[in-house]
């Protein structure tokens, strides 16, 4: 029985053949190792620094007063963050995602407001997350944000003293 063998394996020196074999073996192993698990839809790994997604939690601290309404203005000021979603808060009173101003959002500035007519015992007080802003951050520069609490009110419709803060959340 005569077997076909590549010509170069006979004519080339053993050390070179060994190197070729080693290379092929490594290629095979690497190929097998990195082959996508199922449907081969894997794209190249994330291009670091090109863009990332992050979430910023917005809190309002109404101290001891029940929070019935608020209006805030949040903006990404240095042009590297785009708003890609707005989520509601922790309290059931503010769970629904708040509405935003369509014109302001074009400049990645968001004016959001919400209210709830529930009784005081069903409204949050103290520090509560009222919304989460989902963002795409483009480039390496860290985003800069500005947050203004325009007004907060109690169930009687009276303005209350409150403080708004934000924290960037780590992605799970």
């Amino acid at each position: 029985m005569r077997l076909w063998t590549p010509t170069f394996s006979r004519s080339l020196p053993f050390s070179f053949r060994f190197n070729v074999l080693t290379l092929l073996t490594l290629l095979t192993l690497l190929t097998l190792f990195f082959r996508p698990a199922t449907l081969c839809a894997q794209q190249p790994a994330s291009e670091e620094g090109r863009s990332r997604f992050s979430a910023v939690d917005i809190y309002v601290d109404s101290k001891n007063a029940p929070l019935a309404a608020y209006q805030i203005e949040f903006s990404a000021t240095n042009g590297v963050a785009k708003i890609v979603g707005i989520e509601g808060g922790d309290s059931a009173a503010f769970r629904e995602p708040p509405f935003y101003d369509g014109k302001a959002i074009q400049h990645d500035r968001v004016i959001i407001a919400a209210f709830n007519t529930a009784s005081a015992d069903k409204l949050p007080s103290g520090k509560t997350r009222i919304a989460t802003i989902h963002l795409q951050v483009v480039g390496d520069q860290p985003p800069q944000f500005e947050l203004k609490l325009q007004v907060a009110a109690n169930p009687d419709g009276n303005r209350i003293s409150a403080e708004a803060t934000f924290e960037e959340r780590k992605s799970e």
Partner: protein, 757 residues
């Protein structure tokens, strides 16, 4: 033998390496260009849940409805705590603040005048923009033929393959107040496979829908989507998908066709997408009509076209070569996707009667003005338009005005009824041209309906009239070389010609248009061109452009034939052709609808309509060019206004050689309000700009459309809604794209419309 062993080893190793490397390289190349299930039969994928839920409950939708029930009061802005401005969302902010202010403090009461006007105006009808609907077809609910693809009967009697699909259920909840519908659609996606997927669903909405809200729900978390320029939204979506974030994107392919993308749905996970839109109901002879389309019909695209809406069989993705592609289930296939729908009508005046001929319904009448209609759970296959009609008290609704004011200014909608004098004037002789679509999608019941309508039309012609019959599929053919006299003998010969027509081949509608419009006009007669078609084409813009170019003094009356016709095309053919539309369902009385049409055109139209707005300072009114007024056809003008004026509005026109003038006593002060008017006005502006872009191509149209859409947070062909959950990466690769396959519309033959192997 010993010396050969290393060579054998080398040989096999090289072959193995080449095979493995090739498989890897080609496999990935495939995935890069089309990581879809096209290469893999969907049923071969492992799926975890293949049960067919009969009436799947919508936990998130129910939760949404519960929370929404807190905010259902409509009205004008009321008092609110100092410093809090109303949120700018156009459709919800007033009710939002009204409700809060009701709790927070005293409200301003409306004056008596406002109440009277509100009562009047809530009952005021508004047609689909300026389209006059001659008649609306409604299918009498009947047992469908056993060979009807995707029909319930077929499901019961013929064993069908159960195809796992990422769209589980669609829930529709509509609230109609007066003539404005506020509709919430929830699409429940899930992943029945064992690996991550991206779901892509192409679905219809009414072409005049002002889509202004988009929310993605993951578990109990709800993320509001952001309106952005389409290209930017698409880039964000692709990047989020690539990085493994759950994301959703809504794009508009046609004014009545949308695509929903949902990325990175993990095995077993459920994601809901909630869309809200506002639209105006059409009005015919005292009947309002609410329509919800459920399926996109299979479209034909002329050779060389790539921007159309393609038609492919399930598993044949990218076979059509079109940018947008609808995948259809074969007759022996079914999915678990079903639909639930409810419509809550607050007519403002007494509802005399109602009907739904398209579906089996359950209804509840809570008061003379309120009606609630739900789809019977046993009739939940989304394969045809849902059509609810209701008639309100009074023979004819008075012309009236509806207004809305917010920080963006004032918006109004004015409905004018034509003068009764038109009904007493006799008609001129006519040149009637019947154009019948004989393409494959018309095979069977649709073409039978078209033939019956034309045959009745031929019998209604009078001495002095002339007629022509044209049929088209891949090419056009005519009954006569030129229009023939409407004699009994000629009509009989024409009926024989019509009887010989069959539905097969493509839909080269352009051939029908050329044949119908490209011949000398007979100045002694009014030319009416009646198109009878399902409108299943992907080149709508080209067709509308050609109609406009070739119309001349002709008037086009389009008849939509079928259970889920392309309403955008049919209605715009009527609009562009300065005529009207009618819809003829598979089980409608074709002769009756043709008789209604002849009744309409048996009186002259009021032409050259002009409006004197008196002291009302109006701007940007739509339609830009006022249509002719026919008997029974209301004219609806929507625009912006400034200030208040109590002077009457006057309109005038010519009919039968006479100049007629009318006065409408409406005022802006104290008129009824509807906070959806701003969105409806913006949607009409977008539609008008889009039409201009068809007829007068200019790069500036895109920018203008984009600006209006972004300013009013509306969907358009240049804007899109994007929502990303940036809090969590999903594990693994980005997943396989799975298009949602749908049944062909009821009455449409799969074999003659969906390309095979």
């Amino acid at each position: 033998m010993k010396s050969k062993l290393p060579h054998i080893f080398e040989c096999w190793l090289i072959v193995a390496a080449i095979v493995i490397a090739s498989s890897f390289l080609f496999g990935c190349a495939n995935s890069k260009h089309a990581a879809t299930l096209a290469e893999l039969p969907a049923e071969k994928l492992a799926f975890e849940n293949d049960s067919v839920p009969t009436t799947p409950p919508s936990t998130s939708a129910a939760a949404a409805a519960e929370s929404k029930s807190e905010v259902t009061v409509r009205g004008t802005r009321q008092s609110f705590p100092e410093g809090i401005a109303p949120p700018p969302h156009p459709s919800t902010s007033p009710e939002f603040f009204e409700l809060f202010s009701k709790r927070a403090g005293p409200t301003r009461s409306r004056n008596g005048y406002a109440r009277i006007n509100q009562a009047l105006d809530r009952g005021t009808p508004l047609s689909d923009e300026e389209i006059w609907v001659i008649a609306r077809g409604g299918d009498v609910v009947q047992h469908r033929d056993d060979d009807s693809p995707g029909s319930g009967a077929l499901l019961a009697k013929v064993e069908q393959k159960q195809i796992p699909m990422p769209l589980k259920h669609t829930d529709v909840r509509a609230n109609v107040s007066g003539y404005i519908g506020d509709v919430e659609v929830t699409q429940q996606f899930h992943n029945p496979y064992s690996s991550k997927i991206e779901a892509v669903y192409i679905f219809p909405l009414p072409h005049n829908a002002a889509v202004n809200e988009f929310i993605m729900t993951i578990g109990d978390r709800r993320i509001r989507g952001i309106i952005r320029e389409r290209k930017e939204a698409e880039e964000i979506y692709q990047e989020a998908k690539r990085q493994g974030y759950v994301a959703s994107l809504l794009t508009e392919e046609r004014p009545n066709i949308f695509t929903q993308f949902v990325a990175n749905i993990e095995p077993g996970q459920e994601i809901d997408v909630n869309i809200k839109y506002l639209h105006t109901l059409s009005y015919v002879d005292g009947w309002y009509e609410f329509v919800f389309p459920m399926v996109v019909g299979p479209r034909f695209n002329p050779a060389g076209m790539t921007e159309g809406v393609g038609t492919v069989a399930r598993g044949k993705q990218a076979a059509s070569g079109q940018k947008t592609e609808v995948s259809y289930l074969a007759p022996d296939e079914q999915t678990a996707h079903n639909i639930s729908l409810s419509v809550n009508v607050d007519a403002g005046v007494k509802i005399e009667e109602f009907e739904c001929k398209s579906h089996e319904i359950i209804h509840e009448i809570s008061s003379p003005e309120h009606l609630t209609v739900s789809l019977n759970p046993g009739d939940s296959l989304p394969n045809r338009d849902f059509i609810l009609r209701y008639r309100v008290a009074g023979e004819q609704i008075k012309s009236s005005l509806l207004t809305h004011k917010d920080e963006r200014g004032g918006f109004f909608s004015l409905m004018l009824f034509p003068p009764k004098e038109l009904a007493t004037l006799p008609r001129q002789p006519m040149e009637m041209v019947f154009v019948i679509d004989c393409s494959g999608s018309m095979y069977g019941r649709p073409i039978a309906q078209a033939k019956a309508a034309v045959e009745r039309g031929l019998s209604l012609l009078e001495a002095g009239d002339t007629f022509q019959v044209i049929s088209f599929s891949m090419s056009a053919s005519k009954f006569g070389d030129k229009p023939v006299e409407a004699t009994r003998a000629n009509a009989k010969r024409a009926i024989s010609y019509v009887e010989s027509l069959n539905g097969e081949g493509g839909t080269m509608m352009i051939e029908g248009i050329k044949a119908a419009l490209d011949f000398p006009h007979d100045s002694e007669r009014l030319r009416f061109v009646c198109f009878l078609t399902d409108g299943y084409i992907g080149n709508e813009a080209e067709i509308l452009s050609e109609i406009r170019k070739r119309l001349g003094p002709s008037r086009i009356f389009s008849f939509g034939i079928g259970s889920a016709v392309n309403r955008y095309l049919i209605e715009h053919m009527g609009k562009t052709g300065r005529g009207a539309v009618a819809f003829l369902g598979p089980n409608d009385e074709a002769a009756q609808i043709m008789e209604d049409f002849f009744e309409r055109i048996s009186h002259p139209a009021l032409t050259d309509v002009r409006i004197n707005w008196g002291g009302m300072r109006v701007a940007e009114t739509f339609p830009g060019q006022l249509p002719d007024l026919f008997v029974g056809r209301p004219l609806v003008v929507t625009g912006r206004f400034r200030g208040d004026a109590d002077t009457p509005i006057r309109f005038s026109g010519n009919a039968g050689g006479e100049k007629l003038q009318f006065e409408v006593p409406v005022t802006t002060t104290g008129a009824a309000t509807n906070n959806g008017l701003a969105s409806i006005w913006a949607r009409m502006k977008i539609a008008e700009l889009a039409e201009q872009s068809i007829y007068e191509p200019n790069p500036s149209w895109a920018g203008q459309i984009k600006k209006v859409a972004l300013d009013y947070s509306l969907m358009s062909s240049f804007t899109a809604f994007i929502a990303v959950d940036s809090t969590r990466h999903t594990a693994g690769a980005e997943g396989t794209t799975v298009p949602v396959s749908v049944p062909v519309p009821e009455g449409v033959k799969y074999e003659t419309t969906v390309p095979g192997e």
